[in-house]
Point group: C2
Chain length 250, copies 2
């Protein structure tokens, strides 16, 4: 298998300027979530986008852009795909997991032209279970414009949820990563994370500590925080779920 190294992340997203240093030396590719860093939620700044592309061009490496929730941007202008900066060096990944349902198991790639044959061959060798019916249905759904209408409608609903979440926790915990996507990060007072997680689990809430997503080799300052997804509850359960979350917070 492949081995990975941790690239540091701060408030402006992944520190792609570090790629010119030891972390990028000899690496064949970097995996980024430019639209909405997972899990912290920052959008990668233009300077850091340029740094990533410069590194890829000078080393011959690839950038894998995982745009897992870029459809759901709530504030200000839309953030373009990094892939547009250099279609020959960036592999773009999109997915229906957030915009439709994870159970569909469908996504899409925009691949540098020179890699296309290799990618198709590799997928053909390993993937025998992608439903042709679902793929044709999704293609028709997109072509007809219904997918875009669905995303626009869901964006309004998710933004309302996000606003309600932010209002509900306001004054109790700091919330961040909320300009896009279907999750937020709630920073907790020191020493309260474990109890909050126990309480959330007790109420059947699937919240996860931020530290869960850290690379095993990353040396990070301790940060007590919860990653809270707000896309999953059905409409009828949303208010009760939000109340349960509030009850779990310190």
């Amino acid at each position: 298998g492949l081995r990975t190294r941790p690239l540091a992340v701060d408030d402006a997203g992944a520190r792609t300027q570090d790629l010119a240093g030891p972390v990028g030396a000899g690496a064949g590719a970097v995996l980024l979530t430019p639209a909405h860093q997972f899990p912290t939620g920052a959008a990668l700044t233009p300077a850091r986008r340029a740094a990533a592309v410069d590194w890829a061009r000078s080393t011959g490496a690839l950038i894998v852009e995982d745009d897992y929730d870029g459809e759901f941007r709530y504030d200000g202008q839309s953030v373009g795909a990094l892939q547009g900066l250099d279609p020959d060096r960036v592999v773009y990944l999109g997915t229906a997991s957030k915009s439709l349902a994870p159970g569909l198991r469908m996504g899409w790639m925009v691949v540098p032209p020179g890699l296309l044959d290799e990618v198709v061959a590799a997928k053909g060798r390993t993937d025998w279970t992608s439903s042709a019916v679902d793929q044709l249905t999704l293609a028709e759904f997109i072509r007809s414009g219904a997918y875009d209408r669905h995303v626009r409608g869901m964006r309004l609903r998710y933004r309302r949820r996000r606003d309600e979440l932010v209002a509900a926790v306001s004054g109790r915990v700091a919330v961040s990563g909320i300009a896009a996507g279907l999750h937020a990060v709630l920073d907790l007072p020191a020493g309260t994370e474990a109890a909050a997680l126990r309480s959330a689990a007790w109420q059947d809430l699937a919240v996860v500590p931020l530290s869960f997503f850290a690379h095993p080799d990353a040396r990070l300052p301790r940060r007590e925080a919860l990653v809270v997804g707000y896309g999953t509850p059905p409409t009828s359960a949303w208010s009760a779920t939000l109340a349960a979350l509030l009850a779990a917070l310190p």
Copy 2:
């Protein structure tokens, strides 16, 4: 990967009595198509079923029963699953590829209870793309009885096609393997296979020589024969497809 050895096949199906000899020595499993040997089309006889189960019991090996088209049996009594003889030693595989459509990429397994956890874990590690929506839809389709009605209706239509195929080639070539399934084997006069294949390809017919399916290590007498699937053409194209096949035969 796994290595395989060829088990001989004759008019009564796979020669499972040979498993007690060198071909079965040290083997962990045997793959059989008991309902309709692929590609020759024989149904495995009761004596050979018993021989396979005896071998599996005495050696601790597994039998993998690939029931790829058992829904479509046209003549006489239905042939039971080998799995019923020993559910602890037989892994049963079914599929929607023939009964509904190969593009669904769905099948099912009946697994010995002691293997279930291992099989689920292995599938979870390697298969991330099976559509949950399609699985739930198929489950509902089966539960409602609509799947059985569909299979019964298609069985009549496929039997009619088979009868038309047999009548059309009658007196020109010998046809076999036709008690079930969606394909037949047409034996050709010596020296005519290559020309028939060229002619079929020229007419855009996807017929395949029987020898294509031989195990690389099998030492088989030369048999010139075509494997002809009759399930694929849409109803509107069936007559023209049959005429094209007749034109391709010697």
